[in-house]
């Protein structure tokens, strides 16, 4: 752990406004794709996996850029990703136990 005495100014290595607009555009595009894929009957078979991947991408974008997890101290990643991993494991575990998966 690095030793700091002063409270480091939050987000000094934060992204610029331009990045945020780009991220917003990407998120919008992904959402449009998601809804688009939903209406294509032929893709119906692979709908769940594609949608999960697309929403995971949106999830990562928002958490990484808008919530600064990519730039901030690795401690925040640990404190967030460990419970997130447990949550995902719980969901998958329950889906197996209730024979949904």
């Amino acid at each position: 752990m690095t030793e700091h005495t002063d409270v480091r100014h939050a987000g000094e290595a934060h992204a610029s406004t331009r990045t945020y607009l780009v991220i917003a555009a990407i998120l919008t595009i992904i959402t449009i794709i998601e809804v688009g894929v939903f209406y294509v009957p032929t893709l119906h078979a692979i709908l769940p996996p594609t949608l999960i991947i697309l929403s995971a991408a949106k999830f990562t974008l928002v958490v990484g850029f808008y919530m600064h997890l990519k730039y901030d101290h690795s401690l925040f990643r640990a404190v967030f990703l460990f419970p997130l991993a447990i949550a995902l494991a719980v969901i998958v575990g329950l889906l197996f136990l209730f024979r949904v998966l």
Partner: protein
């Protein structure tokens, strides 16, 4: 939150409130994780009442999803404005974020009223119970978020939200983005992945 703490010793040089809040967000992952797991486990097990295809309105919800995405953008710009000490744009973006959040709640209120009208009540079926509980919990979080943003807006007008207080807005931002991210998952899990077969197109 109370004004910036006197610079005192921390082991990591990070602000305690930000550490605590990320831990809180981690804990909320379990809260929404359990709700989502229950929704998925109970999907298709209702014995009565309308099914997902008969009642869920994808176009309308896509718009509210876009609305929430844009509110995340407004939130980030609000934070940038506070950090720059730009009072005007701080207030503009805070107000915009709160407004977009309120619009989302409006969409949801309309959707809930419409579902009840269509015969899917809170106690009608498993689908009703799980749907309203999951989206209701999320809606409640959005409502708290809007209140929080309006409080920050008032603080800004009182001149108590200078650059030194940027952390308060950053933490509100973390909360808002998390609530947006939870909706991203809900939008996919509830609205788009409808495992029950599509009616003949």
């Amino acid at each position: 939150m109370s004004h910036a703490a006197v610079a005192h010793h921390t082991s990591t040089g990070l602000d305690s409130r930000k550490i605590a809040f990320w831990t809180f967000i981690g804990s909320e992952c379990l809260l929404f994780g359990s709700l989502i797991a229950t929704y998925l486990v109970y999907q298709g097990r209702s014995v009565s009442g309308p099914t997902t295809h008969e009642i869920l309105n994808i176009p309308l919800t896509s718009i509210s999803t876009f609305d929430l995405l844009m509110s995340s953008l407004a939130m980030v710009l609000a934070l940038a404005a506070v950090q720059r000490g730009d009072r005007t744009w701080t207030r503009v973006w805070l107000a915009t974020t709160a407004l977009l959040g309120a619009v989302f709640l409006g969409f949801q209120a309309y959707e809930f009223q419409h579902f009840v009208h269509e015969g899917l009540g809170f106690t009608t079926s498993l689908f009703g119970s799980t749907f309203f509980t999951l989206t209701g919990f999320h809606g409640a979080h959005v409502f708290v978020g809007v209140l929080w943003l309006l409080t920050l807006l008032v603080r800004s007008f009182q001149g108590k939200l200078g650059p030194a207080k940027a952390l308060n807005v950053e933490i509100a931002g973390l909360y808002w983005h998390f609530v947006d991210v939870v909706w991203i998952v809900i939008f996919t899990v509830v609205y788009l992945i409808q495992t029950t077969p599509l009616p003949a197109a």
